[in-house]
């Protein structure tokens, strides 16, 4: 400094080195500033326990709704996921159609270029299958005559995707003289999967909406805090605070609010799943199922915490961006 030459002793004694001289000093200053913001924001959150808790619980409910729906879909997916949807058609032939005729009919279907495969299930085979899978084996033994018809399982080519084309094919088979009744075997799976797709999309939209809710609730909380600490902001600016210094505690407040809401939401979802686990698995056992309730896994928990913390930070950033410019010393 220029004047240092004129009054070296006095000025040097008074003016000491500022923090932020070299890289190490800068790093220490940066670290100190962040530590200060981190702990002061946490301290303030604890100091106003009641209102912080209210905000956090409201946010946690919103977040747990979103993640609860998510885990519900994941569980249903588990049920549906094992089911293979296929275009397979079953043609139940009339009782008076002989096996020879049935094979001929099958051959004629095989010549259709749209068909990939035809499998003939004769009466004996059908009966054996019925006995082993239906649980009515004993009852069937009491019958003096095999009541089951010959069945042709027809698998159209994979390219045969359109539902309408499939309906046309089905109608064509139904009208054949040999056929008593034709049906699409796994159509209900397709329908279920479509319903699931709608549900998943609905949940995604709902989650976005709830996420936006979390964002704006955080923003409003931070706005109130900013308003309450107006004097502090103005004084800090007067004694040389950078915008970064002013922003930091509020961003950290947003982070803490989001993070604690995420943690609370995790507990809410997990407790609900624990309550539901036993009855659901009992129900599954009644249907001979091996359904296990899925909980939020490690990655999902991590995502939950990261997303809710981010929403908190972004929410407060929005407020700071739009409101802080108005807070200037006069």
């Amino acid at each position: 400094m220029k004047y240092a030459n004129k009054k070296p002793v006095k000025s040097e004694r008074w003016q000491t080195k500022k923090a932020g001289g070299n890289f190490v000093d800068k790093w220490h200053a940066y670290k100190n500033l962040h530590a200060h913001a981190l702990f002061s924001s946490l301290g303030r959150l604890v100091a106003s326990r009641f209102s912080s808790a209210l905000t956090i619980v409201v946010l946690a409910i919103a977040i747990s709704l979103a993640s609860g729906f998510y885990i519900l879909i994941a569980n249903l997916q588990q049920l549906v996921g094992n089911l293979e949807a296929s275009n397979q058609l079953s043609l139940f032939l009339k009782d008076d159609v002989s096996e020879v005729k049935a094979n001929k009919f099958a051959d004629s279907i095989r010549r259709n270029p749209d068909i990939q495969e035809v499998k003939v299930i004769n009466k004996e085979h059908a009966l054996a299958e019925f006995q082993s899978y239906s649980g009515f084996g004993e009852a069937v033994k009491a019958l003096d005559k095999n009541p089951l018809p010959i069945v042709l399982q027809v698998l159209p080519r994979n390219s045969f995707e359109s539902e309408q084309a499939l309906e046309v094919l089905l109608a064509e088979f139904s009208s054949a003289v040999e056929v008593d009744f034709a049906q699409m075997d796994m159509q209900w799976v397709k329908r279920l999967k479509s319903i699931m797709e709608v549900a998943r999309r609905g949940v995604t939209l709902l989650s976005l909406l709830l996420g936006a809710g979390v964002l704006f609730i955080t923003a409003n909380t931070i706005r109130l805090e900013l308003h309450n600490r107006r004097d502090e902001v103005v004084i800090a600016k007067l004694v040389g605070a950078t915008n970064g210094f002013i922003h930091r505690p509020f961003l950290y407040s947003g982070f803490w609010i989001g993070f604690f809401s995420g943690v609370t939401a995790w507990f809410i979802v997990t407790i609900i799943m624990l309550i539901l686990k036993q009855p659901v698995e009992n129900l599954s056992r009644l249907y001979d199922g091996t359904f296990h309730v899925l909980f939020l896994g490690f990655i999902e928990t991590l995502a939950l915490l990261v997303i809710s913390s981010l929403l908190g930070v972004v929410g407060s950033w929005i407020v700071l961006h739009f409101q802080l410019q108005q807070l200037n010393p006069e």
Binding site: K6, N32, D231, L238, N243
Partner: protein, 218 residues
Amino acid sequence: MLKFEHVTMRYPGAGDVLRDVNFHLSRGEMAFLTGHSGAGKSTLLKLIAVIERSSRGRVFLDEQNLNEAKDRQVPFIRRKVGLIFQDYKLLQDRTVFDNVALPLVIAGYGHHEISRRVRAALSKVGLVNKERKYPAVLSGGEQQRVGIARAVVNKPPMILADEPTGNLDPDLSAEIMRLFEQFQQVGVTVLIATHDISLIKQMNHRILKLDHGQLVTS
């Protein structure tokens, strides 16, 4: 240290608050800024703290042209200027220690360095045993001394005071002024806006007098 060159400050609708102001304060100089209410004292101080920028002319602090300073440089300019206010501007929900520590926290000092410097500043203003108290329980004179400790804790080369004794009785005022003289003696430039003529006449320092925005004596 501080130089005003043909500085004019015009507020829309209010006319010229400062008109062609020229003066220069060297380092370690102490001066009083006087004038009737509305003469432009506060506006002049605001220009130095870059709370306002002049409409015309140039203000130099430490050889930096404040009119050309970018917004992101303003906080660092303010760190060179210790500001003292008539209404003290203390944070009521913070202790004396935390109030004084604020500039150091802002500058990113570590915990130990902050403690050391805050205690040094408090002992300079004679409040070392009050560091755990809240401003509300202190007298006006004590609160102003907290304000002064906060202004000098970062060892700025310049101190600006806006009516620092406006709320204090004559004895306390004289005490506060002696404190400013002590800072001047260690090389700090001090500029005090006041209309307490009797007080400044007792002290032998330069007087800048503003009259309707114009500098009449300097």
